[in-house]
């Protein structure tokens, strides 16, 4: 807007209050959860100390921190093993899920024939399949990987399939009028339309890949994966080494947080220029 004489910014009481609220919200977003964390760790510590709870029932936070530091030489390799299993499963889920989704949208016959079985694979609890995998698959690592993959790949498959079909109908017509080939249609229309759906699926799959890896380690055990975090946790519980158990649990949970954060960043980078979900609402 161009006004003849540039007036000083007009900030009335309402706008000032709004700005103040926004500032407080920005600070509170970080400080409040941090405060909750500090308070709960503190009360945990106080409870354990005052009630004199033995560490094989509930270790205090100090004890857990000590285990984390002392057992680092055990926990770090375990973290790498679980991390590798999760990451590999996720990569395979992306490749398999996207490839199958593309096949489904390119051929109706393929979708009609195989989609029901993809659903069956998904709804059968992975924990019930794991022992079978252990029997039939020679390499235990491969069995664990398959186990994590089965859980992670379905959200990618179903989201990407819906996404590939969700292109604007008029744009479809436009592509027909301009004589687009099958490949051009996929590359320039279906794939970009599917991107937000795919990224939503990826966020879910990231979490599920970790869950799948943990379940696989529980069921298939150290023989399969080497000693991953979940196997370490299980073993620690047999030995009543609760400090190590909690340390492993915290690391697993941290891994989940990191995976979620990475997926959110990927999603933001891919969509922030054009997709509604990534846009800031105007005040």
């Amino acid at each position: 807007m161009s006004i003849a004489d540039p007036a000083p910014p007009m900030i009335d009481a309402e706008e000032a209050a709004r700005a103040r609220r926004a500032r407080i919200n920005r600070i509170a977003k970080w400080t409040l959860p941090s405060l909750v964390l500090v308070l709960s760790v503190l009360s945990w510590h106080l409870y354990v100390t005052i009630a004199e709870v033995p560490h094989y029932v509930l270790p205090g936070p100090v004890h857990v921190a000590q285990s984390l530091a002392e057992d680092w030489s055990v926990l770090w390799p375990a973290l790498l093993i679980t991390g590798r299993l999760t990451l590999l499963a996720l990569i395979m889920a992306v490749l398999g899920g996207v490839a199958l989704a593309v096949a489904f949208t390119q051929s109706k016959w393929a979708e009609m024939s195989f989609f029901p079985y993809a659903v069956i694979l998904q709804v059968t609890p992975v924990i019930a399949i794991a022992p079978l995998l252990q029997i039939y698959v020679d390499s235990a690592f491969l069995a664990a990987l398959l186990c994590a993959w089965i859980v992670a790949f379905f959200p990618i498959l179903s989201n990407t399939t819906i996404g590939l079909k969700s292109a604007d109908r008029n744009l479809e017509d436009l592509f027909t009028i301009y004589g687009a080939t099958r490949w051009q249609r996929l590359r320039h229309l279906a794939a970009p339309s599917a991107l937000p759906f795919f990224l939503g699926g990826l966020k879910i799959a990231g979490g599920l890949a970790l869950i799948g890896a943990v379940v696989a380690e529980f069921v298939i055990g150290r023989a399969g994966t080497g000693l991953g975090l979940a196997s370490t946790l299980l073993e620690a519980s047999y030995r009543f080494n609760f400090g190590r158990l909690y340390a492993a649990l915290i690391l697993i949970s941290l891994m989940g947080v990191v995976i979620f954060a990475v997926m959110s960043i990927i999603s933001h980078l891919a969509l922030h220029k054009w997709h509604e979900s990534a846009l800031k609402r105007e005040s």
Binding site: N170, I177, L189, H275, E276
Partner: protein
């Protein structure tokens, strides 16, 4: 680039629809015995109530659907770049910039951006958006999006542009402005336009031929000629001549509604 428009009746034919019928599901007659010759340089409006088959006619002309019987012929055959289309929605790719959206018709023919950069710039200049090359559709207003859509339709310099109620969703101020600009554009590039609308006022302002259609079954019932020469400007909207033509068109439309009822 301006092509002098020949008077109606002396223009060579561009597209001929003869005895075109379209029946859906074997019993819903969307279009009955449509005969229409569109000449080079015509601005033809298809005017009629919903269900009169005007959109079906556009789909048939653009080859998105095929007539149940009858045929549609292009004089000299249809070339690859001969047809442009503008839908009721802007129908832009939200993930692509304005320039990339206008590039699309060329891109699908395998032409690189650099090869056709000048055409893209020229098309955007014609619709007044040359400064928005790198903007994304969400950053534009409804009217601007529609301009991009028009630029995309004419970037290949097609012989025929089909417009399916392109301004129906816009506010009146924007619609009038775009009406004026569309006429100016058409004079500049000298193409032929088939324009679907259900607004009597829009059809009279824009076209030199109005085809009035009726519903159930969809068919042509009148053809009107608007003889006012181009260029037409804002003052045409308030002239007695304009009022006279809108009355004629309204009466024809009433007929169409009456017959349908």
């Amino acid at each position: 680039m301006t092509k002098a428009r020949q008077p109606l009746g002396q223009r060579p034919a561009l597209l001929t629809m003869s005895h075109v019928e379209k029946t859906f599901n074997g019993n819903v007659v969307a279009l009955r015995n449509m005969n229409l010759t569109v000449n080079e340089g015509d601005f033809v409006s298809l005017l009629g109530p919903s269900g009169c088959g005007k959109s079906t006619a556009l789909r048939l002309i653009s080859n998105l659907a095929h007539p149940t019987s009858g045929n549609i012929r292009w004089a000299g055959g249809q070339g690859a770049d001969d047809l442009g289309i503008v839908f009721q929605e802007p129908t832009l790719m939200p993930w692509a910039t304005v320039a990339q959206n206008v590039w699309l018709p060329f891109r699908l023919r395998g032409k690189s951006y650099n090869d056709v950069k000048d055409d893209i710039l020229e098309a955007l200049r014609l619709v007044g958006l040359e400064k928005f090359l790198t903007a994304y559709p969400r950053e534009l207003s409804g009217g601007m999006k529609m301009r991009v859509s028009i630029a995309r339709a004419m970037v290949t310099k097609p012989r025929l542009i089909l417009m399916d109620e392109p301004f129906a969703a816009l506010d009146e101020i924007t619609r009038f402005k775009l009406n004026n600009d569309l006429l100016e554009l058409k004079e500049k590039i000298g193409c032929t336009v088939i324009f679907v609308t259900h607004s009597v006022f829009e059809s009279v302002f824009l076209s030199d031929r109005i085809i009035v259609m009726a519903a159930r079954p969809g068919r042509v019932i009148h053809e009107l000629e608007v003889a006012t020469p181009y260029p037409r400007h804002e003052d045409f909207r308030t002239s007695a001549e304009y009022a006279g033509y809108t009355r004629q068109a309204s009466e024809a439309l009433h007929d169409a509604m009456g017959e349908a009822a």
